[in-house]
Symmetry: D2
Subunit: 353 residues, 4 copies
């Protein structure tokens, strides 16, 4: 069950209809899950900002480097030009080049892109090598293409799925999670959606309750192991009319949501945030020398900041609550979060009645 189905609310803002990144109109998510034999536990998750040709109709975007110990592809062009021109793919660390090649191929072969000779693919990753035979690089270009082709706008599967198939979070099975917030009309009425791929450590808190400590499992409990390591990929979508500068600010706030779950952005963690707006597009070619934009003023961005913090926290927790115990590479097993015990702890701390 998702966290909210257990009766736990995160924050003070209402969610969107599905409490998912797909609450932002036009956004689609596709996932390919690869489970095979004893050792393949990996996959890919793709996020499409809209249903059209993303290269021809780019979207304003920004990438925040929370902790850059990761292999994200596509940073500099987004920083320079302020937009995205491909969907976003999440996968495992050693398959980012596979995914990038697939994104390029997919873009080159789309209708209308016959003359495209330069593409900036966006690929993020976390390292699933504890459960997955990562050196085998089992994600193939066809797996990425399939995720792109089957992406839909409805509910998003969470837990052990897609790029989250083999990930580990706070010592428990992590994976894909999502959440959203819809601002009240008085605050603009915008929707902010978040999707995460969780694979990091720290001292788990659920809605402020010290679940990691209560369960006796947290980073640096006794020694300097690497239990804090891992990574978190965070994708943010919004229909608020923000340009790249304010999208970067929005992206940065997600790190506070990560902090609220007990994440610490450990040295070994690749923590990246990719944020885009669906409020307008930037055409690749134009008869005009100008872009005309109606952008939200700086002064009116703060409610979005609160919303994205809440949605990030809840998306991370959903990834944990929806994941299942998994056995994989070299016989390693990672347990799912023991939800009944966690429910008891949440009751003890007054979070569930």
């Amino acid at each position: 069950k998702r966290l909210r189905e257990l009766g736990v609310k995160i924050g003070v803002m209402p969610t969107g209809k599905r409490n998912a990144i797909t609450d932002v109109g036009g956004v689609k998510v596709g996932q390919t899950t690869l489970i095979a034999g004893d050792s393949v536990r990996t996959g890919a998750t793709v996020i499409l900002p809209h249903g059209g040709n993303v290269f021809q109709q780019k979207v304003p975007a920004a990438i925040e480097l929370g902790n850059g110990f990761g292999k994200l592809i596509g940073y500099s062009q987004v920083a320079e030009l302020g937009n995205l021109e491909t969907p976003i793919v999440l996968t495992n660390t050693l398959n980012v080049s596979t995914a990038a090649a697939a994104l390029v191929d997919w873009t080159l072969t789309q209708k209308g892109n016959e003359n495209v000779r330069s593409v900036n693919p966006i690929v993020g990753e976390t390292n699933d090598s504890y459960l997955n035979d990562i050196r085998g690089r089992h994600v193939k270009q066809t797996d990425i293409i399939q995720a792109l082709q089957t992406a839909v706008a409805g509910n998003v599967e969470e837990g052990n799925v897609g790029a989250g198939t083999g990930t580990v979070c706070f010592g428990w099975k992590g994976g894909i999670g999502t959440s959203s917030r819809k601002l009240p009309a008085a605050l603009g009425g915008y929707t902010v959606g978040v999707l995460v791929q969780t694979n990091f450590g720290g001292v788990l808190e659920v809605a402020g309750v010290p679940v990691g400590v209560e369960l006796g499992k947290y980073s640096f409990k006794e020694t300097l192991d690497r239990s804090g390591d891992g990574s978190c990929m965070i994708v943010v979508a919004t229909d608020a009319p923000l340009d790249a500068r304010n999208l970067k600010r929005l992206a940065k706030r997600t790190l506070l949501g990560l902090g609220k779950t007990g994440g610490i952005m450990a040295n070994g963690s690749g923590d990246y945030v990719i944020a885009f707006s669906t409020a307008y597009t930037v055409p690749h070619d134009s008869n005009s020398k100008f872009e005309e934009q109606k952008l939200l003023r700086n002064d009116d961005t703060s409610p979005l900041f609160l919303a994205v913090i809440e949605a990030t926290e809840e998306a991370i927790l959903n990834s944990l609550f929806m994941a299942k115990t998994t056995k994989g590479y070299q016989g390693h097993t990672v347990e799912a979060l023991p939800v009944p015990k966690v429910v008891d702890i949440l009751k003890k701390y007054g979070k569930i009645k």
Copy 2:
């Protein structure tokens, strides 16, 4: 009382002896509090990285821009050269140039600095204009000098003092707060200390408990007011041997601690983190062309990251728990956090037995 005296622990790491930034050997804090008539509620807080001539013996340092809507002075030289050459002064928004002039004057007149012709003063601020007649610019250079001259290495006063005299946090009286963590020997045994000047908004949480919601006071509760605005200055000291790059990473993690108190880095917030190490100094003049440094490896920084998150969260909470109700400019009154009520809430949520 400080939060810990109420029986509430933040995090899993032990504190230093005083649970203060001054637990880092050599660090001194000085404060000038200005309360006069109906309208003057301001002051200055200074942090000295060591007791010697800071210009001649600079300390490695970094500044993280959490949200740059503020007037911090001194950023670029620290970013370029990786060190600090003056103490750090915190004061109010419209007195930063006063404080900078005082720091320059103080540096020029120190013994050994007779030929110094360039100084990079470090001054941070928050805006205390609700309680203080900020346009009157009541902080004078002599007030800054006094804080520098009276700085000591012992306990640090918290609450309505120094640069925190007139600040407001989560709708309650904020101010100066401090905390520290001392890593277990197995994790390196280093100390990390944090001092904050709190003047920001959001949805207050105390040790994960939704105190802001329970008290019915939080940002954007009903409308888009500016209640989330304000700022937070965070100063971090450590005796771990880090260079500027890893100090910047350490500084960035404090924002997660700020997030755990419910802060959102609102648009109007100037959130800055200044971090320095006392493990070695960088001489202004040297007979050698080289600096020889023994630096902590990247792989061993993560426990420091957890420590600084915890210390930041606790320092912010201490600033609230130690502050007193204050009446000031134009008859405005800001209530202290109603500690007995908060204690009840913390009991309800199982945080105090």
Copy 3:
């Protein structure tokens, strides 16, 4: 004489009418020159983006840190919000806080700003301590105010004037210089203006001719002296409709113009670029939640980049050609560039017929 009056053209783009930053409509420049006794050789130069209330009608802006070993005030807020809210002041290193205090005072007391309680002054500097008794901090707030009040839109005085009164460049007397470019209509017809305060070293080239080598005066000729040190402040104005992101890109290109004069951004150099657009303003208060902007597309920015490189190179050279031999602090004398000799060199290299 200015360089162009000697028959030397820089680059391929036409200049504006005055070949000055004031070719950008609305931009005003004011200067206070302080020459007194044996030791005072300093001053201030101010640039106003428009004739109105800059705080109430902010201008889009960006600051590039070429080499951050300097004391520029105001960086972070410009980076965060993308605009300027005061004029820009240039002065000497130890008077930046004086200038900032004056800018704050001037802003607070302007009509319409009665309730302003937060101001982000923008102050740059170079170090004129070889010719000026810099430790005396001879620039007073009244000097800054005077420069602001007497600023005009016409021709700009160059050489030993304002903030350039005591500066040294490539071993010769530097100072204030300016230049502009006006794009052909087919390239948009926009104007780009540059004003510089030159105080740096390297290996002087004039229109590509190795003047420094021919004159036998350049950095590191024999030893590791500090002859490459010093700083360059660069202010860029344009009427092209750029937002902060593209203004930052424009600002960055000026460094290539600095490089073409033989500048090297030495370790000790504080090289900063402040760029703003006059094409639209950002109101401090607004009834709307939105800004509506018609911005130049990324694809059409390149001619502006070429223009700003040329204007920067020429502005720096103008500062040298217009400066006069100066005697100052402790009897130090800095010679003006020996123009007749330079003309001979330029003839030898085919640059002047």
Copy 4:
């Protein structure tokens, strides 16, 4: 012939023995040139910082984003950790993922890397689509591996070779170029080497002489075409003991050298600088918690800055002077720089006697 063989010196610093990046001890360069049929004009150039296992013995490094409109892979981890863990590969825009996959594969299969499960490949590119059938993605992983395996420490081939096979610079055939500087002993005696892949536009200058204007071929001569577009990849090696912070500063200075050739970092240009030091290595695994480093002081970096500016300018010019007229994709022909005419122009301007 290389520029210097024509009797033209760039700058005032002496070159290294080969005037090539391989003058930095241990650095190797390998190139695969792909010329096939009418349409394949591409390849790869690799730079190895040392002859050992680069993953196990990383080198301090930094990447500067001159203009980020490009597809460089590997930025964020270098920025975060301050080191490189693979060789650097340069290739064409649509083959970066191929190159990254090859680098990962090569790293995973090296002796000693049997347990490596995370690799940060560094790949840069420029767009050779005018002469090369770039959509065909003709560079294969085996081509990259071959370049890695055949890399040598001696002379470096320049012009139409490796990643420069199909590139265009200032409207003429560009390609690979290299140069170096060796500081006099009094300035430290360090070597700085630069290798470039040139594919950009602007207004060509050779040793300060306006060759582009004299030849009547330069960007924006008449209209807003895209002639300024394209990219420049710059790789810098040095044996000076610099950490990542000072390597970043060194990297940034190369842009001034690019400017001196007439480059403008046009909107469409992906201009990246990758700098590393061979003075020490950072072991992947260590028994110690510390790195002990003897680093050059900030104050002593300026001569390196001058050196790298000169070497970059000369490397770019070498790429032009060494390139040959090339016919390729769709019958497009790009002429080599007409060296005899250029020599005449250089004579006219007194640069060649």
